[in-house]
């Protein structure tokens, strides 16, 4: 038995030496095959990294909002109506928030509305549509990078809408660029063109918070003033109400109680809310899935064809060796060795190039759409991609080797 094992190891070592020798002789072919597989691996890591980036960024945004629960009226979906934005189906949001805050386990309940508005600056001249975010308070949930925070929501005045409007907004870098404005400038905002002409706001600060959350240029203003300029003070719609529970309270327990009390609303945790939003983006997720599938398929097809080509070019040699009495298993071991080396080197290079490509892509994404951390990687992506490259390389080589071993040696020699 030991003799047989020793003989097998001996043959395997010789097959390995032969593999290395064959590669030394064919450096260009080897390089091309490795580059092909490296690119396929890179495509896989970047696409998977984009998927992770979307999820991670979403989670970070939810965490940064420092909220525990999210109340919505049904599904949270992005609509293309009116230029895009969330559907605001949670009506009477102010009263509902007050009611929720009366619960002793809830620290605060804040309605948040996203709506499409017309915006014009003196510099831009014409009206353009933007997403407006209405929030009753700034606070830590709205990160201001330049200028001042918005000053509460005095216009609401206990539901009378008699309070003075602050006429203050926060914008993000992309909005500033599109409108050619900066802190201190004025812009017109309204739910209709007529309303926009009537309402002028002063830019008091810059915030990337909602632009990053929504992935689109955004203006942020007090909730009551958003309701005022969109003519929705009667129904006070919100996209959702965010809840912070009291310290020492179990979030899941509060969620359960609220869900029983308000069965007409959906009460979700941060993670559930993110999942719900993503589940509504079926097309987007399907497209991402198809891209990953295509990258994987293209990688497999590329690897298969490259390895087949590399091995096809050695068919006469293999034919001569088989005619000489060299067994198929020895030749297949040689070919598998080639696949293993190509897969490992190609996969390794693809993995090594990934951090650089991620940095470049993230920089481009930040410059073009203002979305930070679009592509993010995780150790399992690196390990998985390398594993895929090695498995594909080895399996593809095994298939090519098996095919060659099935061909009569004289046919290989022709």
């Amino acid at each position: 038995m030991f003799s047989s094992l020793g003989n097998s190891l001996h043959r395997l070592r010789t097959a390995g030496s032969l593999t290395v020798a064959q590669f030394r002789q064919r450096k260009l072919r080897l390089s091309l095959a490795i580059i092909g597989i490296a690119l396929a691996v890179l495509a896989i890591t970047l696409l998977a990294g984009t998927g992770i980036g979307v999820l991670e960024t979403g989670e970070q945004q939810f965490d940064a909002a420092e909220r525990d629960l999210w109340v919505t009226a049904g599904e949270t979906r992005i609509t293309s109506a009116g230029g895009g934005g969330f559907e605001n189906t949670l009506y009477d949001s102010r009263n509902l928030s007050t009611e929720l805050e009366s619960n002793e386990e809830i620290s605060n309940a804040i309605p948040l509305a996203f709506d499409t508005v017309y915006v014009r600056s003196n510099q831009s001249g014409s009206f353009n549509t933007f997403i407006a975010t209405g929030t009753p308070q700034g606070g830590p949930a709205v990160h201001v990078t330049d200028g001042d925070q918005i000053q509460g929501d005095p216009h609401y005045a206990n539901g009378t809408y008699d309070g003075e409007m602050t006429n203050e907004v926060l914008i993000d870098e992309e909005t500033a660029r599109e409108l050619n404005v900066s802190v201190g400038d004025s812009i017109n905002i309204g739910g209709s063109l007529a309303a926009a002409r009537e309402h002028e706001f002063t830019i008091v600060g810059m915030t990337p918070t909602f632009e990053q959350m929504l992935g689109t240029p955004t203006v942020t203003m007090p909730l009551s003033e958003l309701h005022e300029v969109t003519g929705t003070t009667q129904t006070e719609p919100a996209t959702f109400i965010t809840i912070t529970v009291e310290d020492g309270t179990t979030v899941e327990a509060v969620q359960r109680d609220l869900q029983e009390t308000y069965p007409e609303y959906k009460i979700r945790t941060n993670q559930e809310q993110l999942s719900a939003i993503l589940q509504e983006q079926v097309l987007l997720l399907a497209a991402a899935g198809v891209l990953v599938f295509l990258a994987l398929s293209a990688g497999i097809a590329l690897t298969l064809s490259l390895l087949s080509l590399v091995i096809h070019q050695q068919r006469q040699t293999f034919g001569a060796l088989t005619a000489q009495g060299i067994s198929s298993s020895f030749l297949i071991a040689t070919v598998i060795g080639q696949g293993l080396i190509i897969g490992t080197l190609g996969g390794g290079i693809g993995v090594l190039l990934t951090p650089l490509a991620v940095t470049v892509l993230n920089h481009l994404a930040a410059v073009i759409v203002g979305f930070d951390g679009l592509v993010q990687t995780a150790p399992w992506i690196y390990v998985g991609s390398l594993g895929i490259a090695i498995v594909i390389g080895t399996v593809a080589a095994a298939i090519a080797g098996w095919k060659i071993s099935r061909t009569p040696p004289l046919e290989l020699l022709q």
Partner: protein
Amino acid sequence: MARSAAPDTGASSPVVTADDVTKIYYRGSEPGRLARILGRSQPPAVRAVESVSITISNEEIVGLAGPSGSGKSTILHMLAGLKRPTSGTVLFRDTDLETLSKRERTRHRLEHIGVVFQQFHLLDSLSARANVALPLVELGIGKRQRRQRAAELLERVGLGDRITHRPGELSGGEQQRVAIARALITDPDLVIADEPTGELDTDTGRTILETFRQVAENRAVVLASHDHETLGSCDRLIQLRDGSVTDHLTQKESIDEYS
């Protein structure tokens, strides 16, 4: 033309015998049962070898002569177990090659047959010694012994100073001698060579023939060739035309015919 009376067996013990072998090639695939029911006729057939009976004995060099398409290579391949005859039997010593599986025939070639091709078919990436030693890996022989035996054989074919050279660094004649050494490394009973001097100039071809003459001790050698000098150097010749044996020539007759 009347020649000697068909001496198709050698003087010493037979190594390989082809008994009434016929090889038919079909142009395209043979029809299956359904195709036959649907009326698909048998594809055109080519009878490459027709009822050939020959015996190759130990320590003789036998030449297969004839024009292209006369069946020389097909007979060589059947003798080596690289092709199965359509009918008839090929006996190697006492073994009917038809009874061996594909794997067994490969092993049989490794242990008993050396093959030399017109185009050498050496591995460019390996040195002359590694090329020669490669078949010994299958026999489980250790590296040191492999290298030693390969070096000895290369020495024997006149390439003792070239053992570390790669095929690309050797001339055509030297590469063919490496291929001969590779064919001999397992000490086979039979060496077959298909146009072994076809790619070589006259002088180099002569050197190769001398090499074959040297290595013919204790084994049989079968050469297929168009080259007159190669055929003239054989112990006896088998003349082929259209897949059939037309004549057998002794060494003297073959020298008269081809020199």
